[in-house]
Amino acid sequence: MTSEWEVVVVGAGPAGLTAALVAAQGGLQVLLLDAQPGPGGQIWRGAAAGQKGAAGDLLREVASHPAITVLSGAEVVAAEAGGRTHLLSVTSAAGLRHLHAERIILATGATERFLPFDGWTLPGVVGAGGLQAMHKGGLDVRGRRVVVAGSGPLLLAVAAGLRRAGARVLAVAEQASLPDVAAFGMAAARLPGKSREALALATGLLGVPYWADCAVVSAGGQDQLQSVTLRRGRREITLDCDWLAVGFGLVPETRVAALLGCPLDGAGAVQVSAWGATGVPGVYAAGEVCGIGGVDGALLEGFVAGCAASGQMERLRDAPRRAALQRRFQRVLERSFALRPDRLPTPSPTTVVCRCEDVRHGQLQPFTDWTAAKLQTRCGMGACQGRVCGPACETVYGWRFGGVRAPLAPLPLAHLLEDPSTLGPP
């Protein structure tokens, strides 16, 4: 494979797939890469090219376009912005390789926010989107008892998806208040196409209790999850279950962007112009890396970034209007599911916060910032490199995570020895 590309798109979710297709239609040679074993991103994980519906159509068009090369199982672990070309270091089963890209479109999506509570480290406690992802990866959930908890519209999508797959969803526990959730529902229904989707969701969830204003207290079990305790008002309820799927919204995955030097906005998302341009010349961004807004926003932003990166400005006439609509929806989403401290799980002094290094809440409480805590306790220095405890500490302690360094993922030592430059100076 050559290492010079006109455009490299990082992330093959809805945003990246669209951006790659549109840029290729504009006459550019495109490399589309993703860490997952196949394209589709979080929402279309495991979808097949050509299957019925939008996902299948887009996957087929991307797979058959002669100007697009798709590289799956390839993770960007280092990135450096340059004047005319940018440099990406990519790890895959084939080893480490370096790519030069005239333009980069970042479509790295988002990760789930996890919050620590007693028992959250038990096997069987997983992310809400996480359980959905595991199911799409082949996990059999038929007949299993699942409690879905945390915050955000993803909980509903997950609950409906698991139920369709044969799971017994015992309850959906949402920390936001019922009026806020209802306000979100109304805003969503006003978007084109959304009301039918909402109806399908609601039908898929008939008979599943939906508890707003509900906090997760703890998970119980010995070597394996056995039960979860929730708090509604003053009442505590314990449910026996096989899986607790719990997530507190999504966090933009901005690590590659950070290595390239792209400025972030106040909410920690990549800052972009109306045309998807980041603060770094030649680097564009699209989808949830620019803010959490769901699949429709991701598709639209992918289209805009693909057009802009390939100079097809004439195709963008209608984009500002659609983007304004989408942004309005995004703001309602943020407001409706804003995390409320009194409805969040509270860690006890012995609750593990950093799972990789087993750092506990009691050890972290004395610190006032991320760097000091990291240096003294090793919080964030394990295999996940702060990807789990970073967002958690941001919510629990108000610390801004600022520890992005290459390599972004653990690499086999052999790869590093072959190519020590990947580590760069500290």
Partner: protein, 84 residues
């Protein structure tokens, strides 16, 4: 259908599934012990948390990012008693 070995147990898995799903469907939980000895299993399902690590054909990988292949030898970190 790919046939693989999980901690010595022979299983078949549908093509396109992950090694993580194969482990979970076989009831092999937990996947590792933490530094202080706590049992741990997969968390994120998408390559972020590294809690799903296992040794596949001698290499430690995130099993949620690893598709099943015929003849794979999968061992939990619990089993190889090795951790990072």
């Amino acid at each position: 259908m790919p046939e693989l070995t999980l901690d010595g147990l022979r299983v078949t898995a549908r093509p396109g599934t992950t090694v993580l799903a194969a482990l979970q469907n076989a009831g092999l939980s937990p996947l590792r012990r933490s530094l202080s000895g706590e049992p741990r299993g997969a968390l994120c399902g998408m390559g972020t948390c590294s809690e799903c690590r296992a040794v596949v054909d001698g290499v430690t990988v995130r099993t949620c990012l690893t598709p099943v292949r015929n003849g794979q030898d999968v061992r939990r970190l619990l089993e190889v008693n090795r951790d990072f």
